[in-house]
């Protein structure tokens, strides 16, 4: 459906650009913290592949997962895969027909991301989020802070991802019973009940092949029959009785550069957003402190609830009892006063000539201010104007694809070798008879740099109190492109 709409009058932004972004976000959320560790890398790989396949722009309509129900908070009814939806109701049952309004809006929108997150219908309000090419829709009847619902829906998606590894249509369909059980625990009468994955996992154990086999034989179940201890303790995010033979704590400092570079190569705006994702597998109730060499860099921070705010306020030290497993400890923003070093530059020469139906296209990507590190994973995407029929290009390295339907050019560059800068040159064929497009395409860039936090943030030390053993500790830095755009 969205493909059809796309060809309509609306000068749609390329769907695949959106897709790429959504996927990138997914990759960032789940995979980056894992993929580098030997232990977990195989899992990471799998995700990457699963997500990659979704780049296919001719993917079917986004499925809708709708949640219905009544009143203040999220209500219920759930997902669809392709044109079938799943639903779950809280409060009271709402007819499926309420979703017609949603589908209308979906049809009107040129692409999935343009579907308004809040739709008002005569008796209900539909709040939706769009992730992993699935719509999650909550149906509500009365006033409630919209962010309350939206944040909850995102939390639901995160939980599914946590449970099933990926949050996809097929996964939801295959695990619909677990999904139902989990949702049942997450929301009671429109009010969120347990949203910490540590607690949920004690209530409803995530499905694994092993457990399925065991359950079949022993007749035990995936459903816990005791109230998770965390639910009542002062550290509700942590399970009790955690045991590991190898005690390890890994922290990933990941920074993303959001930038807009103008035509002439000067920076219009650039900022660094960072997160510290942790994977903590420690026995017992460890109490960790993490200190930075230069905490003043962090301008604006938001914490996982486990972090003691006062300690941060007074000493600029992160002190916390960690949840078990993967979690995001901190996200931060580096203060705007610090000039952001932009690690790459793009030289471009894109010309449409008025008279001819040919245009010239040339891009070169090069490193600057990389502190001696290699830039890898470089990917250039650009949405070409409608008038471009085809492009004949030659890359000096990597592979490129131009999709004549969506007009999206993707160039997978790989590593940048400073001795031999990658470039992509060639010509564009324009539709004959139309005048030249007013706008040159914007170039979106992705890249990553290992072992570097571009802001210069450094972790000083990590200490553990409260337990006797010596944990293995690891810290990793990485810089990536966030929303990095070059205007041409």
């Amino acid at each position: 459906m969205s493909a059809r709409c796309r060809s309509g009058w609306a000068p749609a932004r390329p769907e695949s650009a959106g897709t790429a972004r959504a996927d990138r976000r997914a990759v960032r959320r789940r995979l980056q913290p894992l993929s580098l560790y030997k232990l977990l890398s195989h899992r990471g790989e799998k995700h990457l592949m699963a997500l990659r396949t979704k780049h296919d722009p001719s993917a079917p309509d986004p499925p809708v997962w709708k949640q219905m129900g009544h009143v203040p908070a999220a209500a219920s009814s759930t997902a669809t895969l392709n044109s079938s939806q799943q639903e779950k109701h809280w409060k009271s049952v709402v007819s499926r027909s309420v979703c017609d309004y949603f589908f209308e809006a979906q049809e009107r929108a040129s692409e999935a991301e343009n579907v308004p997150p809040v739709i008002s219908t005569p008796h209900h309000y539909l709040l939706s989020v769009y992730r992993h090419k699935i719509f999650f829709v909550a149906v509500i009847q009365t006033e409630v802070p919209p962010l309350f619902v939206i944040e909850f829906l995102h939390r639901v998606v995160d939980t599914f991802q946590d449970y099933f590894g990926v949050c996809s249509e097929v996964m939801i369909k295959d695990n619909v019973v677990v999904v139902y059980e989990v949702l049942e625990e997450m929301l009671d009468n429109g009010f969120p009940l347990a949203t910490e994955s540590n607690i949920l996992k004690e209530l409803i154990k995530p499905p694994t092949i092993l457990r399925t086999v065991v359950n079949t034989i022993t007749g035990s179940t995936n459903v816990g029959d005791q109230l998770p201890t965390g639910q009542l303790s002062v550290v509700p995010w942590r399970r009790t009785g955690v045991k590991y033979t190898n005690n390890e704590a890994y922290f990933d400092v990941i920074e993303e550069i959001d930038a807009i570079i103008d035509k002439s190569g000067s920076t219009i705006t650039a900022e660094i957003q960072g997160v510290i994702d942790a994977c903590v597998k420690l026995t017992g109730m460890p109490d960790l402190t993490l200190s930075f060499m230069n905490p003043r860099l962090l301008d604006d921070v938001s914490f996982h609830p486990c972090v003691r705010f006062k300690r941060w306020e007074s000493e600029r030290i992160l002190s916390f009892i960690p949840p078990d497993g993967n979690f995001r400890l901190l996200s931060y923003h580096v203060s705007a006063q610090n000039l952001v070093a932009i690690p790459v530059y793009v030289k471009h020469n894109i010309n449409f000539r008025d008279s001819s139906s040919l245009g010239r296209f040339e891009i070169t990507v090069g490193p600057k201010q990389t502190m001696g590190k290699t830039i890898e994973g470089v990917m250039v995407t650009s949405q070409m104007p409608k008038g471009v029929l085809n492009m004949s290009l030659t890359p000096s390295q990597g592979t490129h694809i131009f999709d004549p339907v969506t007009k999206l050019l993707t160039w997978d560059v790989g590593k940048i070798n400073p001795q031999k800068l990658p470039s992509l040159k060639g010509s564009m064929n324009l539709q004959a008879g139309t005048s030249k497009p007013d706008e040159n395409p914007t170039i979106n860039l992705q890249f990553k740099i290992q072992q570097l936090a571009i802001s210069g943030l450094k972790v000083n030390r990590l200490d553990m109190y409260g337990e006797k053993y010596k944990p293995f500790k690891g810290i990793k830095y990485m810089t990536k492109a966030g929303k990095f755009q070059v205007r041409t």
Partner: protein
């Protein structure tokens, strides 16, 4: 494929369409092509006695429910399994029951007894889930059972079950609203619950059942504020939103002075320093119409306790705090939310969408707040259109003289975007910038005119419309542009644009006398093919031309009017008739004819281009209603600030309203019901929290639990006590605690000081007079500094000056003959230099003997310590000490027969000890404590305070400080260290000519500094 048609089918159908793999899913329709067979199969499985089969069957049924298929005919088979031992089966049966019970009420009743049994289960999880399901079954017959279950669960030992009870309340309410009164009782009870787990859920229930019963919140207000940070995130959102509404009804607007002072208020105007001046000038101000604004400490408490939540990872919490600050905070403090909101812009696009809507509204009212973040609102080509348009709105709101050039440069990039809706919005935005900021009007206009040659018609059309509005402001200078636009009528087809051009030409036909008739000629030719709005404008143009230039246009006008007369649209026919009568003079035409020109060519005010977000802030920000700009069902209006603050004492019985202004000096005691004092203890005063350097890890968890534990231990204690002391028939009293002080207590036989002192009404703001008598004796005692140990004597001392103020702790009426006063001895506490000594004087005014005075249950705010003193009977001396920064704290004082609740709140000035330093040292230290650490206030010295002696006397009485020598004779310096942390506090009082003086306090503890300034000013003003 189109989703909507497929999904509309009720049964079975959807699976056959276009989803090849669907059939492989055992739970789906593929295998069980026929409904009836399928159900037989499932029934069999459900009836078997193997759990695994039952489980399998239930899973399939749940999968059916999930796909929206009707599984209601399985109800009898499923409901039988409600008592199944297997917990997973049981849970799935619950899911099923909740879904279908409403349809099959009679059968659903079969399951009720199972739940009733479950409610008694020793496992709290099972109790909770039984209550959950029971309350989710929407069967009216069981309302009484539900009511009973909720009431019972509300007093369950497990907080988790109580939380579930709170959730059940709105469910029952929606089923049967007649239960409201009973439910409110339960809500009231649960509101008093001290666990963080329950707080969010019960407030949610409150909001749904009885949001109008704001009175239920009073007693819990401080508790909620203090617990807030430990409540789970969803509860925080609900509580903050509710408290916003509450605060709007209970406090005065912090910005009310604004209207008096116009815009001149400087930034710091509403800072707390200001409050002090206000106090000082209280008398004068009372003459003024409006009372000076002093922020209620509870109001401050709310603002302070919510601020850390801006750091929450949950966007909904951040938004809730942001709206609270926007609606409640003094103007100068609102700025803190900007950073957090900008951070949310990095989040998912749905979150961005909501946040930007709110930012757009805020940025109209408080533009300065977001200006530093201007660049965060720059638009990327990958943003969804709705985000782009909202960002544009924000950018436009933020535009001012200084940043307009950057913004316009950005806009130029946007105009070339491929997203035409966005381009159109950008053009509108440029128009708005041009209207709001005069100096760029010409630049914008030129830019827009260039757009007129754009190839995209939509762009051109939008530009025309905007240019039209801009030209209206200063038409005379722009006839060139009008001519240019006249030419466009040949090409441009968008009706709105054509209409705009015609209107412009008509309106300003005098500026383009040659072109206008020609345009009319062309339009007359194409009249019949135009859209209605264009036709109307053609008629207008004709009429205007006829009036100004009838020679050239008379025939044309008549032609147009004739065409219009036979138009299909009645509106146009109507207009034509009307205009003909008006402008063409005939014998019949009335007096209006003469005024036709005035009517048509009157000066028209230029349109004001306004943001669509203007005035949206009458909706509570962050609400659904705000987002939709329409009232959603169940929206609670955000009330306006009251003109007069309602009685603040409702939140606080121990500390009635006077304490707001005089809290430093007066304490008052009342015998309270136990639960009340509990909440009081927790809610303490505002100052202490800030100044405490406390970071300890347990703190977050412990604050909530302490409340609970203390209340229970209190009860035990009470019993004990009763046993112990049965035999004695007297009265006693005792004391309680406070922080940061050591205290010493002494007591006298009845008839002593106590009786003499004339204090009758505890709440009197100025206790000073009463202390005279005491102080004389004190002074003498003071001389012999060793009183600590011989505490029988009235051991009040103040090393430097005579008058030590005493404060009443327990009035003899309230204390049934026993009265207690306290004062700050200002001597170091021997046991611990970090404590402050409080001397307590107890008098027995009755004939009976008093025994066993003691502090039974000190309630200390975090960071406070008290050194207990042993039980005393008459004639013994008691000593206690307290530590840390103080505020007030309430405790129960017990005698063997009675308990009294008392509290001590030390003035901040007593929490320090004098230090002696030279003038140079003083200067040096002062130099280190500037900026944030310095608080300066101007004041007026009253007549009697204009002598060296009086000033020194007053300052030293207000605070325990030592005088520092000073060269200048109109300057007074004092220095002290806080007792607990040893931070320096430096006071400088500069006496200028006449009554004017300036007070400067330097201290790294800003809270202490602020309060000290206030106290000193008050002392000097007396």
């Amino acid at each position: 494929m189109a989703a909507s048609p497929a999904y509309g089918e009720e049964k079975g159908g959807s699976s056959s369409l276009g989803e090849p793999e669907y059939g492989h899913d055992p739970a789906s329709g593929g295998i069980f092509a026929s409904d009836y067979k399928r159900h037989d199969d499932l029934k069999e499985m459900l009836d078997s006695n193997k759990d695994s089969l039952k489980l399998e069957a239930m899973k399939r049924i749940v999968a059916m429910i999930a796909r929206g298929k009707n599984a209601s005919d399985l109800f009898p088979a499923v409901v039988k399994n409600v008592a199944c031992k297997n917990i997973e089966v049981k849970k799935l049966v619950y899911v099923y029951l909740v879904r279908y019970a409403e349809e099959q009420q009679d059968l659903a009743l079969l399951s009720i007894s199972t739940f009733q049994r479950g409610l008694k289960d020793p496992n709290q999880l099972i109790r909770a889930s039984a209550l959950r399901v029971l309350s989710s079954i929407r069967v009216p017959i069981i309302v009484p059972i539900m009511m009973l279950a909720i009431k019972e669960a509300a007093s369950d030992m497990s907080p988790y079950v109580r939380k579930t009870a709170a959730h059940a309340i709105p469910k029952l309410y929606s089923l049967d609203s007649d239960q409201k009164d009973q439910l409110i009782e339960v809500i009231e009870k649960l509101l008093a619950d001290k666990t963080t787990l329950v707080a969010g859920s019960v407030v949610m229930a409150f909001e749904e059942v009885c949001p109008e019963r704001i009175d239920l919140i009073h007693k819990n207000y401080r508790k909620l504020c203090n617990l807030l940070i430990d409540v789970e995130e969803w509860g925080q959102v609900v509580i903050i939103n509710m408290l916003t509404r509450y605060a709007r009804t209970q406090f005065l607007s912090p910005n009310q002075n604004e209207s008096l002072l116009e815009e001149s208020a400087e930034k710091a105007f509403y800072g707390s320093e200001e409050e002090d001046t206000k106090d000082a000038k209280a008398e004068a101000a009372s003459l003024a119409k409006r009372k000076p604004y002093v922020m209620d400490p509870d109001h401050r408490l709310l603002l302070r306790n919510t601020k850390p939540l801006l750091q929450s990872r949950n966007a909904a919490v951040v938004m809730a705090v942001a709206q609270l600050y926007f609606h409640l905070a003094p103007k100068a403090e609102v700025g803190v939310i900007a950073k957090a909101l900008v951070r949310l812009l990095r989040s998912h696009s749905e979150v961005q969408y909501v946040v930007l809507q709110n930012v757009a509204t805020m940025s109209i009212k408080r533009r300065g707040m977001f200006e530093p973040y201007l660049k965060s609102f720059y638009i990327r080509s990958t943003d969804p259109t709705q985000i782009k348009i909202l960002k544009l709105e924000v950018l436009t709101n933020l535009a001012n003289e200084t940043n307009i050039s950057t913004i316009l440069r950005e806009f130029q990039t946007y105009i070339r975007s491929m997203d035409k809706d966005f381009v159109a919005a950008t053009i509108q935005a440029i128009g708005r910038c041009a209207t709001n900021i005069g100096k760029v009007r010409d630049t914008c206009l030129n830019g827009l005119v260039q757009l007129l040659s754009n190839r995209d018609e939509l762009v051109v059309a939008e530009s025309v419309v905007v240019i039209k509005k801009l030209l209206q402001m200063q038409p005379a200078q722009h006839s060139e542009i009008i001519k240019h636009m006249a030419k466009l009528t040949d090409n441009i087809q968008v009706p709105m644009a054509r209409a705009s051009i015609l209107w412009l030409i008509g309106e300003y036909c005098e500026h383009v006398p040659k072109i206008a008739p020609d345009v009319l000629r062309k339009m007359a030719k194409s009249f019949t093919n135009e859209e209605d709005i264009v036709k109307l404008q053609v008629i207008n143009l004709a009429a205007k031309l006829y009036l100004t230039n009838s020679k050239q246009s008379k025939l044309l006008t008549q032609y147009v009017l004739n065409l219009a007369k036979y138009d299909q649209n009645y509106d146009i026919r109507d207009r034509a008739r009307f205009i003909r009568q008006l402008i063409v003079p005939t014998e019949k035409s009335g007096a209006l004819n003469k005024y036709a020109k005035k009517l048509f060519l009157a000066q028209k005010p230029a349109p004001i281009l306004e943001s669509s977000f203007k005035d949206r802030d009458h909706f509570q920000l962050g609400s659904l209603s705000h987002l939709l700009n329409a009232k959603a069902v169940g929206y609670q209006e955000l009330p306006d600030w009251p003109d007069e603050a309602p009685d603040p004492s409702v939140r606080n019985v121990e500390v009635p309203e006077w304490t707001k202004c005089t809290s430093r000096e007066k304490r008052k005691e009342k015998v309270e019901k136990p639960f009340y004092s509990d909440s009081e203890g927790e809610s303490g005063p505002t100052e202490s929290a800030d100044s405490e350097p406390e970071s300890d890890s347990e703190e977050s968890g412990s604050s909530s639990s302490s409340g609970t534990s203390s209340s229970s231990s209190e009860e035990e204690e009470e019993e004990e006590e009763e046993e112990e002391e049965e035999g004695s028939g007297e009265q006693s009293e005792d004391k309680e605690g406070e922080e940061e002080e050591e205290k010493r207590k002494k007591r006298k036989e009845k008839g002593g000081l106590r009786k003499v002192s004339p204090r009758i009404t505890p709440p009197l703001p100025q206790p000073v007079p009463s202390s005279n008598i005491i102080s004389t004796s004190l002074v003498t005692d003071l001389e012999g500094l060793t009183l600590t140990d011989t505490s029988l004597a009235p051991a009040l001392l103040s090393p430097a000056f005579g008058a030590v103020r005493t404060y009443e702790l327990l009035h003899r009426m309230a204390g049934e003959g026993l009265s207690v006063e306290y004062c700050f001895s200002r001597r170091p506490f021997p046991g611990d230099p970090h404590m402050v000594a409080v001397q307590i004087q107890i008098s027995n005014n009755t004939d009976a003997e008093v025994k066993s005075l003691r502090v039974s249950e000190p309630k200390l705010l975090a960071g406070m310590r008290i050194q207990e003193f042993p039980e005393i009977g008459m004639g013994t001396v008691v000593e206690g000490r307290w530590d840390t920064v103080a505020a007030l704290c309430f405790q129960r004082a017990c005698t063997h027969t009675r308990h009294f609740y008392v509290s001590i709140q030390p003035p901040v000035g007593e929490l320090m000890a004098p230090v002696f330093m030279s003038e140079n040292e003083f200067r040096k230290e002062q130099g280190k404590l500037t900026g944030m650490s310095e608080i300066t206030e101007k004041l007026t010295l009253p007549e009697k305070c204009r002598s060296d002696h009086a000033i020194v006397q007053q300052v030293t009485s207000a605070a325990n400080v030592g005088r520092v020598p000073c060269g200048a004779d109109n300057e007074y310096r004092f220095a002290a260290k806080t007792v607990t942390s040893g931070s320096l506090v430096l006071i400088t009082l500069e006496w200028r000519e006449g009554a004017a003086a300036q007070l400067t306090v330097n201290s790294e503890k800003m809270v202490i500094g602020t309060m000290l300034v206030k106290d000193i000013i008050q002392a000097l003003a007396q």
